[in-house]
C-alpha cells in the first residue's frame, strides 16, 4: 500500500514537471537573462520607468518559463505586488487590433467595461485607451505590463497600430508601461515598420542554449530525480539511486546523445521522459534502459512510413510503380494512367494473374492514396482534367518506401524484388 502511495506521488510530481505545469524553482543556464529581465521589470514597477524588450529564442527554449519565473519572483516582493497591472495577449488569439484592444481594455478593467463586455467601437476603444494612458504619469499611475506572446504575429496587423502606440507610450511621458514581446523569430525586428522600430528600445534577450552533452545528461538526471521534500525518504532514495544507474548505462547514454544531436530543446526531452515515466508501475518500480530505448523509438518513428503498413497490396504496388516512375523521369509528375501502365509492365513479366485488377479498382486505390496524402495533385492543375490524367506527385521519400516494405507483414517476395530492382 505504501508503495502504491509512493508511486502516485512520483507520477504526480514528475508529470507536473514534464508537462511544464509547475515552474522550476530555479532556472539553469539563463541566469544572466533572468537577472536582466527581473531588473527591467522591477524598475518599471518601482521607479515607474517605461521599457520595452523582446525575448527571442527557438521553440521550447524556455522563453515563457523565464518570463513566468520572473513574474512569480517579482510578485513575491512587497513593493511590486500591488503596483503592477498585467495584460497578457497572444498573437494567435488576438488576430487583429480590434480584438486586441478589446482584450486590453477588458484586462485593465477600464471604465467602458461592464462585466466582461467592452462597449464602443474600435475607434472609440483606441481613443479611450490612449487617453487613459496619456492621462497617467510616471509618479502616480500604476505601471502596466504588456506581455505579447507570438510577438511576430502582431507585426502583421494593419499599419502595426497597436505596436506603434504601445511603443510610443513607452517612450513618452505617460503612464509607465513595460512591453515584453515573446517570439521565436530571429528576424523579428525586420518585420517592424521603421517608425515602430525607432520607438522600440532594441533590447533583446536571446535564449540560445549553449548546452553541452554533459550538462544535458545532468539535466536528465535532475529532471528525473525526486526532491528532498518527498515525504517517503526511503522510497525517494531508492528511486534516485535507480535514476542514477539508469543515467550511467551505456545504451541510455547513446540514446540520449542521439536526442541531443537532434534537438537541444527541453520540450522534446520532456516528451521522451514522459513516455518512459508512463511505463513505470508498482510491479516495475524503476525506469529500465529498455524503457528509454522503446520511448526513443516511439519519438523517432517515421509517421508516414508507418502509414504504409496499413496499405493493401494493390496500393503498395501503385506506390512502387510511382517510385520507379520517379526514378525514370527524375521526379516529374505522373498520372494514374502512367502508374497503371508501369504496374501492368510488372504484371506482364509475371505469368500468374494474381494481381490482375480492373481499372475502376485501381482508380479507387489511387484515390485512397490521395486521401491519405501520400500523393498530392500538382499545383495549378485544373479540375477540368479527367481524374485518370490529373498530374500527381509522390510525397514519400524512397528510403521510406523501402523501410516500409521491410516491415510490411507478409509482403510477397516478388513485389519486394520489383521494388528493389533498378528499373521497372
Amino acid at each position: 500500500v505504501k508503495l502504491t502511495i509512493g508511486f502516485t506521488q512520483v507520477q504526480q510530481i514528475l508529470r507536473e514537471r514534464f508537462c511544464e505545469r509547475r515552474l522550476p524553482d530555479r532556472l539553469e543556464g539563463v541566469e544572466a537573462q533572468y537577472k536582466h529581465l527581473l531588473e527591467l521589470l522591477r524598475r518599471t514597477a518601482i521607479h515607474g520607468e517605461s521599457n520595452s524588450v523582446l525575448i527571442v529564442g527557438p521553440r521550447g527554449a524556455g522563453k515563457t518559463t523565464l518570463l513566468q519565473c520572473v513574474l512569480r519572483d517579482l510578485q513575491k516582493e512587497e513593493k511590486v505586488q500591488k503596483n503592477l497591472l498585467q495584460v497578457h495577449l497572444n498573437g494567435l488569439l488576438q488576430t487583429d487590433d480590434r480584438i486586441a484592444l478589446k482584450e486590453i481594455t477588458r484586462q485593465l478593467h477600464l471604465e467602458n467595461v461592464v462585466g466582461d463586455k467592452v462597449f464602443g467601437s474600435f475607434a472609440e476603444n483606441l481613443a479611450f485607451l490612449l487617453e487613459a494612458l496619456k492621462k497617467g504619469n510616471r509618479s502616480s499611475s500604476c505601471p502596466v505590463l504588456f506581455v505579447l506572446d507570438e510577438f511576430d504575429l502582431f507585426a502583421h496587423h494593419k499599419n502595426q497600430t497597436l505596436l506603434y502606440n504601445l511603443f510610443d507610450v513607452s517612450q513618452s511621458a505617460q503612464a509607465p508601461i513595460a512591453v515584453v514581446g515573446v517570439t521565436c523569430r530571429l528576424d523579428v525586428l525586420e518585420l517592424l515598420e521603421k517608425r515602430v522600430k525607432s520607438r522600440f528600445s532594441h533590447r533583446q534577450i536571446h535564449l540560445l542554449s549553449s548546452l553541452n552533452f554533459t550538462q544535458y545528461l545532468e539535466r536528465v538526471w535532475t529532471q528525473l530525480s525526486l526532491p528532498d521534500s518527498f515525504p517517503d525518504k526511503k522510497f525517494a532514495q531508492e528511486w534516485n539511486a535507480g535514476v542514477k544507474t539508469l543515467c550511467e548505462d551505456k545504451s541510455v547514454e547513446e540514446v540520449l546523445q542521439r536526442h541531443f544531436n537532434s534537438s537541444k530543446d527541453f520540450r522534446s526531452l520532456h516528451m521522451l521522459l514522459m513516455l518512459c515515466l508512463s511505463r513505470v508501475s508498482v510491479a516495475k518500480p524503476t525506469i529500465k534502459p529498455a524503457d528509454l530505448l522503446e520511448a526513443s523509438r516511439m519519438c523517432f518513428a517515421d509517421t508516414t512510413a508507418n502509414m504504409l503498413h496499413g496499405l493493401s497490396i494493390l496500393e503498395l504496388c501503385l506506390v512502387i510503380a510511382m517510385k520507379h516512375l520517379n526514378d525514370v523521369y527524375e521526379g516529374e509528375p505522373f498520372n494514374l494512367q502512367m502508374v497503371h501502365n508501369e504496374f501492368k509492365k510488372f504484371l506482364h513479366r509475371k505469368s500468374n494473374s494474381m494481381y490482375n485488377f480492373e481499372q475502376p479498382v485501381v482508380m479507387k486505390a489511387f484515390e485512397h492514396l490521395q486521401q491519405l496524402e501520400l500523393i498530392r495533385p500538382v499545383d495549378g492543375s485544373s479540375a477540368k482534367v479527367q481524374r485518370e490524367y490529373q498530374l500527381m506527385r509522390l510525397t514519400l521519400d524512397h528510403s521510406q518506401i523501402m523501410e516500409a516494405l521491410q516491415k510490411y507483414p507478409q509482403c510477397p517476395t516478388d513485389i519486394k524484388q520489383w521494388a528493389m530492382s533498378a528499373f521497372g
Binding site: P143, S263, K264
Partner: protein, 710 residues
C-alpha cells in the same frame, strides 16, 4: 419606427419649403441719422421681414442673435453701429460687440471659471484680434441680455431666451464686468417699443410657450382645430426662426445625412425635462401633423421614446479614461547612475532642444506670422524617425503658448492628431472636432461640421494650429482627408495653420494627386539625421553636468549611432543600457564608477549584433548538418532554392561522413521546421511535406563562419 421617422421628416421639409416659398424681403428703415458724403452711410435701425409675416426691427444698442455654425446656439452680440455700403447701400453691414457662450469657450479653459457655468450664461468678449464686422443678413432676431453681479445667483426663470452676463472673457482670464458696459443704453422700453404687431420679437410669447408646455393637448381636438392652431403657432413662430430655417434649407450641403443625424440627436434629447430645443421642434412637428393623419403615430413614437430612455442598458456613457493609481510611491533615483538613467529616458522632456535651433526658428516664425496675420497656411516637415520632428514642433508650440500668455501674440488653439493613433483616416475629422469643440460625431457628420466651421465667417475664432503627425497614414484612395486638411487653411475665414509630419521627403510627389500636392504648397522642411557631434551634445545637455559617463564612451556611442541611423532615440537607449551594465558589473553596488568604454561596447554589441551567428552556433548537431546540406545542395544545383527531398539526400550523406546514424524523414522534417521557425531557413507551408522548397535566410558566408569557429 425608423421608416416612420423618415417619412415624418420628409414631409416636414416639404412643408417648410412651402412656407418659405414666399420671398424674404429685407429693407432698411429710412431713418438715417447721419448722411455722409463718403460711403458708408450709417443707420440707427433696420427691419427684417418675411413676406406675409410680421417684421422685426433691430436698433443699435440692441442685443441680437447672429447666425453661426450651431443653429440651436446662435452667436450673441450687441449692435454698436449699422451702415450700408456699395451701390444704393445694398451691402449692409454692422459693427457688434460680441458675447461668448459657454459652449464656444475652449474646453480646456472652462476650468478657469472655478464653478459650473449656468446654461444661460454668456461672457462679455474682450479680444482685440476678433473681427467685429458682420453682415446684417446673418442677424437672426433680438434677444434679452441681463447683467448680474458676480455674487448674485442665477434666477431660475422659465424664460429660456434671456441670457445673463456676469464676467468678461479675453481669451485668457475671466473678469468681473461693469453693468453699464453690458446693459444696452437704449433698451427698448414699452413706450418706445415698436407697434404691437411687432411684439413677437421675443420668440416665446406666452401663448406659444403655453401650447408648447402641454404638448399633448392638441390630440383631443378635432383636425380642423389642430389646423387652426398650427397656423396660429406658425405665425407665432418668430420670423427670425423662419429666417434661420430658410437659410438652413439653402445652405445644407448634404441634407440626407444631416437630417438623420439631427433625428438621432433629437431622440436622445427627448427627455422628461423639456429643453427649449425640444419645444421648438415639437412645434414644427405640429405644423406637419395638421396636414396628415399620422399624428397619433408620431405621438406614440415619442411616447415610446419617453419610455425607453430610462430603461436602456447601462452603457457606460460617461466613462472617464484612466489608469488606476499606484498604491506605493515611486522610488526616487538613489545614485548617480539611476539619476542619469532617468534623465536619459526618451520620455523625459528636456528644457531645451539642442541642435535644432535653425529648424525651430523656421517653424516658429512660420506659425507666429500666421497667427499675427490671422491667416492660415500649411507646412510639410519630413525626416527619418528619431530626428526630433515632433519634439521640435511641440517645443515651438510651448514657446508660442508662452508668448500668447505674455500677450505678445494673439492666443491660439493647438490641436494634435496622429495618423497612427486612429483606426481609419476618416477618424481624423472626428478627433479634430472632438478636440476643437468637445462634440462627438460620426466621421461624415464631423466632416460636414468642420467644413462649415472653416468656411463660414465666424469672427471670434482663435487661430487654430493643427499638427498632423504620420501624415502618410491619412492616405485614402480619393485622398479627400488630405485634400480637406490642406484646403481649409486656404479659406478666407478659416485661420487654420496645418503642420504636417511624415518620414519621407518626397511624400507629396509620391502619393498625393496633383490637387492635393498643390494645396499643400511648397513650405517644406526636412530634418537631417543627427551628426555625431549633435548626438553627443544631446546626451550632454540631457545629463546636464551630471558626471556619469567617460568622455570617450559618449563619443563612441554617438559616432556609432550617427554612422548607422542618426536616430537620437537609439542613442539614448544605448546609453541607458550602458548604465545598467555598469551597475551590474560593479562588485559593490554602492560604489559604482563611471560608465566606461567596455560597458558601452557591450551595450552596442547587444543592440546591433545580429543573433544569427550565435543561433547557428547554439543549434543542435543535426540542425547544423542540415544547414550544411542545404548549402551543398545549392552548390550542386547552382540555384538558391531546393526541395526538402533533395536536401535530405545530402543530409544523409553528410551524416554518414560525420559518423552519425542517419535520421528518418520525419525527424529530418522536424529539424527543418525548427530552423524555419527561427527564420534561419525560409520554408513553404509545412503540409507539402518532403516537396516543400527551402531557401536560406542568412548568407552562406555567415553559416560557414559560424560553423568553422567551432
Amino acid at each position: 419606427m425608423e421608416v416612420l421617422y423618415h417619412f415624418f421628416h420628409r414631409n416636414l421639409e416639404e412643408l417648410l419649403k412651402c412656407i418659405f416659398r414666399s420671398l424674404l424681403v429685407m429693407f432698411w428703415c429710412f431713418e438715417m441719422t447721419r448722411f455722409e458724403i463718403l460711403m458708408p452711410v450709417c443707420f440707427s435701425s433696420f427691419a427684417i421681414s418675411v413676406e406675409g409675416l410680421s417684421k422685426i426691427i433691430i436698433n443699435t444698442g440692441q442685443d441680437i442673435f447672429i447666425e453661426g455654425c450651431d443653429e440651436d446656439n446662435p452667436y450673441v452680440a450687441k449692435v454698436t453701429r449699422l451702415y450700408g455700403d456699395g451701390e444704393s447701400y445694398s451691402h449692409k453691414l454692422g459693427f457688434v460687440q460680441w458675447f461668448i457662450r459657454v459652449s464656444e469657450l475652449p474646453v480646456n479653459k472652462l476650468k478657469l471659471l472655478g464653478r459650473e457655468p449656468h446654461p444661460q450664461e454668456i461672457f462679455y468678449y474682450e479680444c482685440r484680434n476678433c473681427d467685429n464686422e458682420v453682415n446684417v443678413e446673418s442677424i437672426l432676431r433680438p434677444v434679452k441680455v441681463k447683467h448680474l453681479d458676480s455674487n448674485d445667483p442665477f434666477p431660475d426663470s422659465a424664460d429660456k431666451d434671456t441670457l445673463y452676463v456676469k464676467l468678461s472673457w479675453d481669451s485668457k482670464v475671466f473678469r468681473v464686468v461693469n453693468s453699464t458696459v453690458v446693459e444696452s443704453p437704449a433698451e427698448p422700453a414699452p413706450a418706445s417699443s415698436p407697434p404691437s404687431c411687432l411684439k413677437p420679437s421675443l420668440p416665446m410669447s406666452p401663448s406659444c410657450s403655453q401650447s408648447a408646455a402641454t404638448p399633448r393637448g392638441p390630440s383631443r381636438r378635432t383636425p380642423a382645430n389642430v389646423e387652426a392652431e398650427s397656423l396660429h403657432s406658425a405665425t407665432k413662430l418668430s420670423a427670425s426662426k423662419c429666417l434661420s430655417a430658410k437659410r438652413r434649407n439653402a445652405t445644407a450641403r448634404t441634407p440626407g445625412v444631416r437630417k438623420r443625424l439631427e433625428l438621432s440627436s433629437e431622440c436622445l434629447h427627448k427627455d422628461f425635462k423639456m429643453q427649449p430645443l425640444c419645444r421648438t421642434r415639437e412645434q414644427q412637428g405640429y405644423i406637419y401633423i395638421s396636414n396628415t393623419k399620422s399624428y397619433h403615430h408620431f405621438l406614440t413614437v415619442s411616447l415610446i421614446f419617453l419610455q425607453i430612455s430610462p430603461g436602456t442598458p447601462q452603457t457606460p456613457r460617461h466613462a472617464t479614461p484612466s489608469i488606476p493609481i499606484r498604491s506605493l510611491q515611486t522610488q526616487q533615483p538613489a545614485n548617480i547612475l539611476e539619476e542619469a538613467r532617468a534623465r536619459l529616458h526618451v520620455s523625459s522632456v528636456p528644457e531645451s532642444l539642442p541642435c535644432r535651433e535653425q529648424e525651430f526658428q523656421d517653424i516658429y516664425s512660420f506659425v507666429e506670422s500666421k497667427i499675427v496675420d490671422n491667416t492660415g497656411g500649411c507646412m510639410y516637415i519630413s525626416g527619418v524617425p528619431g530626428t526630433g520632428k515632433t519634439a521640435t514642433v511641440h517645443e515651438v508650440i510651448r514657446c508660442l503658448q508662452h508668448a500668447a500668455d505674455m500677450d505678445e501674440i494673439p492666443s491660439f488653439h493647438f490641436i494634435e492628431i496622429n495618423g497612427m493613433k486612429m483606426t481609419d483616416p476618416h477618424q481624423a475629422y472626428v478627433q479634430i472636432l472632438q478636440k476643437l469643440t468637445g462634440q462627438k460625431a460620426t466621421p461624415d457628420h464631423a466632416a460636414v461640421l468642420l467644413e462649415k466651421r472653416f468656411s463660414n465667417l465666424a469672427p471670434r475664432k482663435e487661430t487654430i494650429v493643427l499638427l498632423v503627425d504620420e501624415l502618410d497614414l491619412l492616405w485614402t484612395r480619393k485622398q479627400n482627408v488630405m485634400y480637406n486638411l490642406f484646403e481649409w487653411p486656404a479659406r478666407r475665414h478659416a485661420r487654420l495653420v496645418v503642420l504636417t509630419i511624415a518620414n519621407t521627403m518626397d511624400l507629396p510627389e509620391r502619393i498625393m494627386i496633383n490637387r492635393v500636392a498643390s494645396r499643400l504648397g511648397l513650405t517644406r522642411m526636412s530634418f537631417q539625421p543627427y551628426s555625431f557631434k549633435q548626438l553627443q551634445e544631446i546626451i550632454m545637455s540631457r545629463l546636464n553636468k551630471l558626471k556619469a559617463f567617460e568622455e570617450d564612451a559618449l563619443q563612441l556611442v554617438s559616432r556609432k549611432v550617427a554612422a548607422l541611423s542618426g536616430d537620437a532615440r537609439r542613442c539614448l537607449d544605448i546609453c541607458r543600457r550602458a548604465t545598467e551594465i555598469c551597475e551590474h558589473s560593479a562588485a559593490d553596488p554602492s560604489s559604482t564608477g563611471l560608465v566606461g568604454m567596455s560597458h558601452v561596447m557591450e551595450a552596442l554589441n547587444e543592440m546591433f549584433s545580429s543573433a544569427y551567428i550565435t543561433a547557428i552556433r547554439c543549434a543542435s548537431t543535426q540542425e547544423q548538418l542540415f544547414l550544411r546540406a542545404v548549402i551543398t545542395e545549392f552548390r550542386r544545383l547552382g540555384l538558391e532554392e531546393a526541395t526538402f527531398q533533395q536536401v535530405f539526400v545530402q543530409h544523409q550523406a553528410l551524416c554518414r561522413i560525420e559518423g552519425l546514424k542517419p535520421i528518418g524523414v520525419s525527424e529530418g522534417l522536424a529539424v527543418c521546421q525548427r530552423l524555419g521557425a527561427c527564420r534561419l531557413l525560409l520554408l513553404e507551408p509545412s503540409h507539402l511535406g518532403v516537396l516543400q522548397r527551402i531557401r536560406l535566410n542568412v548568407s552562406q558566408d555567415d553559416i560557414f563562419y559560424a560553423l568553422k569557429a567551432d
